[in-house]
Amino acid sequence: MAEQTGAMAELAPPDDELIAAIAQGDHPALLALYDRHGRLGYGLAYRMLGESGAAEEAVQDAFLRVWRRAATFDPSRGSVRSWLMTIVHHCAIDLHRKRAGGPNVIAGLEEIAEQTPAPDTWSEVSARLDRERVRAAVALLPRDQRRAIELAYFDGLTHREIAERDGLPLGTVKGRLRLGLQRLYSALAEPVPGIVQESRHGA
C-alpha cells in the first residue's frame, strides 16, 4: 500500500498543478498531494505531539485547510511543501495548546505566513535544499539557540513558556530565537563552505 501510494506520488503532476486543481475542487489532486507529502506531514506532527492519534488529527485538519484554502496559495511566497508544512505545524500547535490549556494559536497565523513575501531568490534556494543540508545548518547553530528554536517549533512553546521552563529572562529567549533563525537563514541562503560541500560553482 505504502509503495503504491509512493509510486503514485512520483507519477502525479507537480505540486503547483495539484494545488491549482485542488482549488477547483479536484479530490484526486488532494489525495495525490497527500500521497506525496503525507509522510513528512505526519512525521512532523508526530514529532510535535508525540502520539499517533493526535498527529493523525493534526494532519487531517491540515489537509482540510488545504482543501478549503488552496486558492490562497501563492507560489511567489515559497513552495507548496513549505506552505503545507506550515499548515501542519500550525494545526499541531493548535491541538497541542488546546490539550495543554495553553494560549490559543495566534489568530490568522497562516494568513501572516501567506502574506509575508519570501526574500528574493528564496523559492529558488529552498527548492535546492535537501534534508541533510538543513540538518547540517541547524547542527551548526549554537546549542542554546538550537534548543530555543526546537522548543518553540516542535514543542509549540511560546517565548514566555521557554523562559519559564529554562529559567531565563524573556529577552534572552527572544534573542536566541531571533539570532538562531538569522544564522540559519544566512547559512542556507548564502552557501557557506564547509556546510554546502555539494556547491561547486565556477570550477
Binding site: Q24, Y34, G78, H90, T158, L170
Partner: protein, 255 residues
C-alpha cells in the same frame, strides 16, 4: 520581570521577530507585531527571512507512514465538504502533458472509482438510515425498557481503544427481533457540539447507525447482523453525526 501593560517600545517588538516567525507569541503580542510591521519595512524584511528559515525546520522531523485509515478519512471529509466547493470545471489529468515514459496520462491522477462509486451507495444508505434513526428515537426508548426483561441471545465484548481508556461495554444481538443493543459506559465526556456515532461495517464502508450524546448509554439498532462484521463508535459533530466517520474509533465489537 513583570509583563508590561503599556505599549512596548519598538525595539522590544523587533526583538520579538524570531518568536513571531515561529508562532511562539500570544495573541496580544501578535496584534502589536502586525501593527508594528505595517510601519517598519526593515522589520518586515527581516521577518521574511526569519520565516523562510523557520520554513525549513520540518526537515528535522523524520517522515513516517501515517495510519492506514487517514487517507480515506481525508478523502471522505473533502467529499463531505464538497457543497461549499466550486464544481470542478475539468478533470486535472487531460491538461497534463504525457509522461516521458510513454505511460498513458490518464493513470496519473484519477478518481478512485470503487471508492467514490460506493460513496453514492453510502449516501443512499445513509439517507435511509437517517429516517430510520429518527424513528428509532422513540422506538429506542420503548425497546430499552423491553430489553431489560428479555435475555439477550448473544453477547459480544466491546473493545475500547486508547481514545477511551476507561470505557467498557457489550453488544447484545437478538436474532428474533433483528436488533443489536449497544451497552457502553464511561466513554470520555463529549465536548460541546459533539455526539458519539455508531457505525456498522461490512464488506463496504461504514454505515451510520445512529448517535447518542452521553458517555454512558444504551443504544439499539435494527440490523441484519449477517451483513456486518463490526460495530464501531466514533465521536462526530452533533447533533446528527456524519454520513461517514471522521473521528477516531473509541470502541468496537466484532459481530
Amino acid at each position: 520581570m513583570e509583563p508590561r501593560v503599556t505599549q512596548p517600545p519598538l525595539d522590544n517588538l523587533r526583538d520579538l521577530l524570531g518568536a513571531y516567525a515561529l508562532g511562539a507569541v500570544d495573541e496580544r503580542e501578535a496584534a502589536e507585531m502586525r501593527a508594528f510591521l505595517k510601519q517598519d519595512a526593515d522589520a518586515a524584511g527581516e521577518l521574511a527571512e526569519l520565516m523562510a528559515a523557520a520554513s525549513v525546520l520540518p526537515a528535522l522531523a523524520e517522515p513516517m507512514t501515517p495510519p492506514a485509515g487517514l487517507r480515506d478519512r481525508i478523502a471522505a471529509i473533502a467529499q463531505a465538504d464538497a457543497p461549499v466547493r466550486p464544481t470542478p470545471v475539468a478533470p486535472l489529468t487531460p491538461r497534463l502533458p504525457a509522461p516521458s515514459s510513454g505511460e498513458p496520462s490518464p493513470s496519473l491522477v484519477r478518481p478512485e472509482p470503487a471508492f467514490w462509486q460506493r460513496a453514492a451507495v453510502w449516501a443512499t444508505a445513509a439517507a435511509a438510515l437517517l429516517v430510520i434513526t429518527l424513528g428509532m428515537l422513540y422506538w429506542n426508548m420503548q425497546l430499552r425498557s423491553e430489553i431489560d426483561a428479555t435475555p439477550p441471545m448473544e453477547t459480544m465484548a466491546l473493545a475500547t481503544t486508547d481514545m477511551a481508556p476507561h470505557a467498557s461495554g457489550e453488544v447484545h444481538y437478538m436474532p428474533d427481533q433483528g436488533v443489536l443493543m449497544l451497552d457502553v459506559k464511561d466513554l470520555p465526556a463529549l465536548p460541546q457540539g459533539y455526539v458519539y456515532e455508531v457505525w456498522l461495517i461490512g464488506d463496504g464502508n461504514p454505515v451510520p447507525a445512529g448517535v447518542f450524546a452521553h458517555a454512558t448509554a444504551q443504544h439499539a439498532v435494527a440490523a441484519d447482523r449477517s451483513l456486518f462484521n463490526t460495530l464501531a463508535i466514533t465521536m462526530e459533530p452533533g447533533p446528527m453525526g456524519t454520513t461517514a466517520p471522521t473521528g477516531d474509533i473509541y470502541a468496537s465489537a466484532s459481530l
